[in-house]
């Protein structure tokens, strides 16, 4: 059996990274309290919701992400790559704690869950920690993560504006006038969320990637009202269907992972047929933007490493900086041969929606902004080392793509920028030899205090 959400909470607590709050908290205050806590937060009592506890901000720092992944902070990308390289198929089991309580029909009522208020301008309370499972008759199972906005006790909005496999599944169902059944697991291990964040080829089962990360199969149970499977260890599951109405229902604004409030979007509606949960459930509030950002980091970094290797460029280090929301920017150092600065840029700019890529040589510490600035100052000639790719796939929540001018369901494009901050061809490496102080190793400051 693979680890679950509660195992992650235990890992964080053992490392001193979990703060327990004992006093009852109104769900409207969950996010604001988490934003003040230096650690992940566990709410032992929720006012008005005696059966529920809540937890959040589990992965709001690179350190906590690394703890959850069981590796060093520098190794999150390579750790994630291991999961991709060694997938382990999920295992179907007869029963799981996520179905200890089953609510169907008239018993379905989202207002019985401690739905949190997150940001000042949000269009409603949001469910942010979702693992959404869907199926297509031709392509098979897909697992992704999509935010959901409360609408009524049995309906939520869902953000399906961006390109994704599930958007394709929905479009195919919509073309036939059919709803798309989905199941939403909340409160799963970060490995499942990481796998869901990965833009896997359409025929790859994200649960197998999660299994690769765990080193053990993810146990799945069949849903009660839809022909789908969800992690048996989940805290809570919503079963239902995306209505065949297209991109017609208002959704948002929401505090996006770009750290700004998005616009109202036009999206489908999720109608819920069943709610199942544990007998003593914990509601996971994925704290925006930080947890979303850090969940993206290993995925984007690993994709960058893969792209570089496919381009026959040898990477030394890679980083998706939090300033680019761990998503839009990639910085890499490489062991460069002539021409490979540009090859590296072309590879890195092919990753997802990365719109800024910087490549340096292996003597630059890409985690040190001063070192990176130094490389960009002295190794870059703007007329030779800057690459601009117009009209590539963009993302709505980047205000500069002007998504507001698109029609409903429209997809934006973006320009991409690459900066080759490797030593230019024809310039000897010796020209970049750093200053060294005379006799530095021969004297010690302590001896002169």
């Amino acid at each position: 059996m693979s680890a679950g959400f509660r195992d992650c909470l235990r890992q964080l607590e053992d490392a001193g990274e979990l703060l327990r709050l004992k006093r009852a908290v109104d769900p409207r205050h969950l996010s604001a309290l988490m934003a003040q806590a230096p650690q992940a937060t566990f709410f032992e009592s929720i006012a008005g919701y005696p059966d529920w506890r809540a937890a959040g901000a589990l992965l709001s720092t690179r350190r906590r992400l690394a703890l959850a992944m069981g590796c060093s902070e520098a190794a999150v990308a390579t750790r994630f790559e291991e999961g991709i390289r060694r997938p382990i198929d999920a295992r179907l089991v007869d029963r799981g704690p996520c179905q200890e309580v089953v609510l169907i029909g008239d018993d379905v009522d989202l207002t019985r869950l401690p739905l949190p208020m997150m940001h000042v301008k949000d269009g409603g309370p949001y469910i942010s920690a979702t693992l959404v499972v869907s199926k297509d008759p031709e392509y098979g199972r897909n697992v992704g993560s999509y935010r959901m906005m409360y609408r009524t006790p049995r309906e939520t909005g869902i953000d399906l504006v961006s390109s994704s496999d599930m958007r394709l599944y929905y479009q195919r169902a919509l073309d036939q006038g059919r709803p798309l059944p989905i199941a939403v697991a909340i409160g799963v291990h970060p490995f499942e969320l990481l796998a869901a964040s990965y833009k896997a080829p359409i025929d790859v089962d994200e649960f197998a990637i999660a299994g690769g990360l765990h080193g053990a199969p993810v146990d799945l149970v069949r849903c009660r009202t839809v022909d789908l499977e969800v992690p048996a260890e989940a805290e809570l599951v919503l079963e239902g269907e995306l209505l065949p109405i297209g991109w017609t229902a208002d959704e948002g604004p929401f505090g996006e992972f770009s750290h700004i409030t998005g616009e109202v979007k036009w999206n489908p509606i999720f109608r819920i047929r069943a709610i199942t949960h544990r007998r003593d459930p914990i509601f996971y509030v994925l704290q925006m933007p930080w947890e979303n950002d850090w969940l993206a980091a290993p995925v984007i970094e690993a994709a960058g490493l893969q792209a570089l290797r496919i381009a026959s460029v040898e990477p030394v280090a890679i980083r998706a900086p939090v300033g680019g929301c761990c998503y839009w920017t990639l910085v890499a150092s490489v062991k460069k041969r002539p021409g490979e600065g540009k090859n590296a840029l072309l590879a890195m700019l092919s990753v997802a929606e990365v719109k800024l890529a910087i490549v340096t040589d292996d003597d630059i510490d890409i985690y040190n902004p001063d070192d990176l600035d130094w490389a960009m100052t002295f190794r870059v000639q703007a007329d030779q080392d800057v690459l601009i790719v117009p009209g590539a796939r963009g993302k709505h929540i980047d205000p500069s793509v002007r998504a507001g001018a698109l029609g409903r369901g429209g997809l934006p494009t973006t320009a991409k920028l690459g900066i080759d901050a490797t030593i230019p061809e024809g310039v000897p490496r010796s020209h970049y030899e750093r200053l060294r102080y005379f006799a530095k190793d021969g004297v010690r400051l302590e001896d002169y205090r």
Partner: protein
């Protein structure tokens, strides 16, 4: 509609508001009760949005 749902509708008829502004004015109301009333407004299909994402009551269909 429940009295709370009618009260929310009246507030939105007076001027457009972000959802958070509505919530702020009803912090003494139990959260579940508020969400049920909001669900009534949604189900009644009377809500519209302005360019800033604020809710308002639709005047014509």
């Amino acid at each position: 509609m429940s009295p709370l749902a009618e009260s929310l509708a009246a507030e939105l008829s007076a001027r457009p508001r972000h959802f958070g502004e509505l919530v702020e004015g009803h912090m003494r109301t139990p959260w579940r009760e508020f969400l049920l009333a909001w669900g009534e407004l949604r189900a009644a299909d009377v809500l519209a949005r302005d360019d800033e994402g604020r809710y308002l009551i639709r005047t014509s269909r």
